[in-house]
């Protein structure tokens, strides 16, 4: 305590820490994986069992990652035992409440969708087959291609992906958060991470069930989303710069100052965007199917998205003008 007015420790602008960044990553990944699984499933000929390994990977990742993220989120509350109050008290003007309501629909749908994709394992071969058998009839009623369920799941995956951006952009205390492009950037990078995770997970655990054609399709899709992220980042910072005043200063600081500028150029741009593009124009040129490089490609995309969430969260709370 050096000043006569007392300790200034409480005035740190850094309020939300890494668990929030990891949650934002996992929620985006979950939404992206659900979308990925549905996109592959909706391709002509993929709409019936046995399901493609990539459909299964995305279907499994979606509920697992969102649950992991939510557990992390609950334990990050300063009053974790009170978390249930979030479930029964609503403020419809709060993005957090809207997120809770979205998750009420998204999470169960993602579980049902996954259950359809893992029916034989759940009811016949898996360790819980005996326990779960009574529910088989219920799931059979839903069928293998519940169009309403799949469309609703896709819609809510988009909502979950975009809400993680609005959660931050709703705060005008932080100029780097408070930009209209952030939700779109989070949706795009969420989709990108969902595609990458599905490819990685599919090729590692359901390799024999992965159709090469579908893997190539997803790889190409990811290579379209990654440049979009670059464009969104570019527009975000240039847009802030042109707003002038504090915002221009913050945009420049966030790209040039300290550890977070390093994370941005090295992690977000270098690892997450430049590396996959480089792999695409070299090792995977002409859509070569080289599993090692495909896995590497997916891994760097995922790491890049983790860096992006960490960067936005921390740089946003560090550079406040």
């Amino acid at each position: 305590m050096n000043q006569i007015w007392g300790s200034m420790e409480q005035y740190s602008t850094l309020v939300w820490h890494w668990p929030i960044a990891v949650y934002l990553f996992l929620a985006g990944l979950s939404a992206g994986a659900a979308m990925t699984s549905l996109i592959v499933k909706w391709i002509e000929g993929n709409g019936k069992p046995p399901w493609d390994g990539l459909i299964k990977a995305g279907a499994l990742l979606a509920p697992l990652t969102i649950c992991l993220g939510l557990v992390l989120l609950i334990f990050d509350l300063t009053r974790p035992l009170m978390f249930w109050k979030l479930l029964i008290h609503y403020n419809f003007g709060s993005v957090m409440t809207l997120g809770v309501l979205g998750l009420f629909i998204y999470t169960p749908l993602s579980f049902i969708y996954a259950a359809i994709k893992f029916k034989p394992w759940l009811f016949e071969t898996g360790p819980f087959a005996g326990l779960l058998r009574p529910f088989k009839g219920l799931l059979d009623k839903v069928g293998d291609n519940p169009a309403w369920l799949e469309r609703t799941l896709f819609l809510f995956a988009v909502i979950i992906g975009i809400y993680t951006g609005f959660l931050l952009s709703a705060m005008y205390s932080y100029p780097l958060f408070n930009t209209p492009l952030l939700p779109i950037l989070f949706l795009a990078s969420g989709l990108s991470s969902g595609i990458a995770a599905s490819i990685l997970f599919g090729l590692l655990f359901f390799k024999s069930e992965v159709n090469e054609k579908n893997a190539k399709y997803l790889l190409e899709l990811d290579l379209r989303v990654v440049p979009m992220e670059l464009l969104l980042l570019f527009a975000l910072f240039v847009g802030m710069y042109f707003q002038g005043g504090d915002k221009a200063i913050i945009a420049v600081q966030a790209l040039t100052t300290g550890i977070w500028a390093f994370v941005f150029w090295g992690g977000v741009i270098g690892v997450g965007i430049a590396t996959p593009l480089l792999i695409a124009i070299t090792a995977l040129k002409h859509h070569a199917y080289r599993v090692g490089y495909i896995l590497l490609n997916s891994l760097v995309v995922l790491i890049g998205v983790v860096f992006l969430r960490l960067y936005i969260l921390y740089a946003g709370q560090t550079f406040v003008g």
């Binding site: 000043q3 006569i4 007015w5 007392g6 300790s7 200034m8 420790e9 409480q10 005035y11 602008t13 309020v15 939300w16 509350l77 300063t78 009053r79 974790p80 009170m82 978390f83 109050k85 979030l86 008290h89 609503y90 403020n91 003007g93 709060s94 993005v95 957090m96 409440t97 809770v100 709703a170 705060m171 005008y172 205390s173 932080y174 709370q317």
Partner: protein, 190 residues
């Protein structure tokens, strides 16, 4: 008619003595190392080379248009009928969305309840007894003026009609009810 409490901090009368800070701590039993109110003293050099001091009251500015209440998912943060922004600890889950969303850094996490806490204009204690907030009562130079903005005859409305005032970060549209009389010397840095 409902009341609408506001306050004036007169930078020309303030001497940065921290009597308000101390009174707030004792009246509201604020735990060590956290503060509802501080007065930051900043040395200024004026264009003619003269020295002076700027005083910044660091506390909740009691916005009319409250970012903290808007983001709170459970309505734990709310504005009462007298325009005072308060926290209902029973509803708070500790997500700290309000702490992050406040452009004035008015909130801190109470070390015991783990819920955010902030200036309440002494609403639960002194105000309820018809007295002025502790900071206003102890100010030796009368740099703080408190009152009902809805009452044309109130002390605060009289002062607001006679003195030049501004509010912090007015461009955000938060409509604070904390008015500042800027130092007559030098420039205004809002």
């Amino acid at each position: 008619m409902a009341k609408k409490y506001g306050m004036i901090h007169d930078n020309n009368l303030c001497i940065g003595c921290q009597a308000c800070n101390v009174a707030c701590r004792s009246e509201n039993q604020i735990p060590e190392s956290v503060y509802r109110l501080q007065v930051w003293v900043k040395q200024e050099e004026y264009p003619n080379g003269g020295l002076g001091y700027e005083y910044h009251r660091q506390s909740c500015v009691q916005c009319e248009n409250t970012p903290c209440v808007s983001v709170c998912p459970t309505h734990a943060s709310y504005k009462n009928e007298d325009g005072i922004v308060l926290i209902d600890n029973d509803l708070c889950v500790g997500c700290l969305y309000c702490v992050a969303a406040c452009p004035y850094q008015a909130r801190y996490v109470h070390p015991v309840t783990k819920a955010p806490d902030k200036c309440t204009f002494c609403h639960e204690s002194r105000l309820a007894r018809g007295e002025e907030p502790a900071c206003v009562t102890v100010c030796p130079t009368d740099a703080l003026i408190f009152g009902d903005l809805n009452d044309p005859k109130s002390k605060i409305n009289k002062a607001l009609s006679e003195r030049v005032t501004y509010r912090q970060k007015e461009s955000l549209g938060t409509q604070p009810k904390m008015f500042i009389v800027p130092n007559h010397k030098g420039g205004i840095r809002s």
